[in-house]
Amino acid sequence: MTDKANKPQIDYQLLRNELDKILDELQGGEIDIEEAISKYERGQVIVKQLKEFLDGSENKIKKLKTDLNKKESK
């Protein structure tokens, strides 16, 4: 459970891919205006999240216990 808590709140790569897809779709121009505007709004939300991620979060280091003895006695 602590592993989950330590995970960053966003998946950078996933959001980055979504933004690329939105750009492709908007530049392709084959969607209707309502969809285009909702994609654009989603794109802005992603940009904001990514900027906050790049500005904000810190790297966390956790030491795991080594289990050398257990392994060797196996």
Binding site: L26, Y40, G43, E58, N59, D67
Partner: protein, 380 residues
């Protein structure tokens, strides 16, 4: 000198007692010498002699204790326990073998490289892409090392939001191979494993870096289900573990540079994309507006056409009307005759003395009828 009391023992008792004594006296011994008569039996048991100019010692062990394939003539340091086997006699039971000196190290590494290469362990086709950037890194190194400090420092400078799980290992000496392989399997056995394994060690002598040229470590790296990035020593050092990894970095600092993007570059790219997003929606809206304007033009054109057609029809009707108008007849010299506003079409009911109104193009005349003469055709 008092004489010792005589011990009377069975053979088994003597062998057991001897082994106890040997174990007590040589609990921690390593022997250096040249390897000779090396052979492997049933792919599992290893027999060889270790010797110098005067003496030779029989050694026994398993293939799992070898750093890799060996051959005679190599200088090695053997750690183990002397043992008297109840049936097969005396041998030195090995716990580990370490090559001594750069020549031996290189020779062993070359032999192992040849063997593992044949097995396809270093094949390009085995290499998996590393997640970029990873959200969780499993780091295997010594937490005391400069390599560790450099790696963490550069990661912190470049990127944010990475979780680094560290397993602190021994990176040189006899314990290093098992310490490193244990860490690799520990990460692989986690129910929620990291996205990538990073194994790093700073520069050192060939002997210092030896663990990363052992079969044990090289195989563990190749077998890792988690993709691996290995960086050992300086740029010029290439270990077998690095060759078996999915990606190799020239130094621990280089590993940190390869594994995460640069925050500043990412920010520039993001700002670019943000502008692209704005431009794309503006262009989209412009295009939609243009489309609308085109439709409006089309609509106007069509309404214009309908109107002008209606006008044309009207004109034709007006002209027709003009042709049919009685006034047109007056124009041509005809006259209209009325009797008290009623149009006179026939002379039958007109009698002399009747008052008629005659309209000409330019005058109205009131007149009295003097005589009515019906046409012959009308009379009949």
């Amino acid at each position: 000198m008092p004489s010792m009391p005589e011990l009377e023992l069975s053979v088994s008792e003597f062998v057991a007692s001897l082994n106890q004594t040997l174990e007590f006296a040589y609990s921690n011994v390593s022997i250096a010498g040249e390897l000779a008569n090396f052979r492997v039996s049933k792919g599992q048991w290893v027999y060889f002699d270790i010797k110098d100019e005067q003496a030779s010692l029989k050694c026994f062990g398993t293939v799992f204790q070898l750093p890799g394939p060996l051959e005679g003539g190599i200088l090695v340091k053997v750690r183990g326990l002397p043992k008297m086997h109840p049936q097969y006699g005396f041998s030195f039971n090995i716990q580990s073998i370490q090559p001594i000196g750069e020549g031996a190290l290189k020779k062993i590494a070359d032999l192992l490289a040849l063997k593992l290469d044949k097995e396809g362990l270093f094949d390009e086709s085995r290499k998996r892409p590393l997640p970029f950037p990873p959200s969780r890194i499993g780091l295997i190194t010594s937490s005391e090392s400069a390599a560790y400090a450099d790696f963490v420092k550069i990661i912190n400078e470049r990127w944010s939001g990475v979780n680094i799980d560290l397993i602190d290992v021994v990176v040189q000496g006899e314990l290093a191979p098992s310490s490193i392989t244990t860490a690799i399997s520990q990460f692989n056995e986690l129910s929620d494993p990291p996205d990538v394994l990073v194994i790093i060690r700073g520069g050192g002598s060939a002997e210092d870096l030896w663990a990363f040229n052992t079969e044990q470590v090289t195989r563990a790296v190749a077998a890792s289900r988690i993709p691996t990035l290995v960086a050992i020593g300086h740029e010029i050092d290439i270990s077998l573990a690095e060759l078996a990894a999915d990606q190799r970095a020239s130094t621990p600092s280089n590993a940190a540079q390869l594994i995460v993007p640069d925050r500043r570059q990412a920010m520039v790219a993001l700002n670019n994309d943000s502008q692209k997003l704005h431009r794309a929606i503006e262009k989209f809206i412009d295009q939609t507006k243009q489309l609308l304007a085109n439709k409006q033009d089309l609509l106007t054109d069509q309404v214009d056409q309908i109107l002008s057609r209606a006008k044309e029809q009207l004109n034709t009707q007006i002209q027709l009307l003009a042709v049919l108008s009685p006034r047109a007849a007056l124009d041509r010299g005809y006259a209209i005759v009325r009797q008290s506003t009623k149009l006179v079409r026939s002379g039958r009911n007109i009698i002399p003395g009747a008052i008629l109104d005659i309209s000409l193009i330019d005058a109205d005349i009131k007149t009295e009828v003097l005589k009515v003469q019906l046409n012959a055709k009308e009379q009949s």
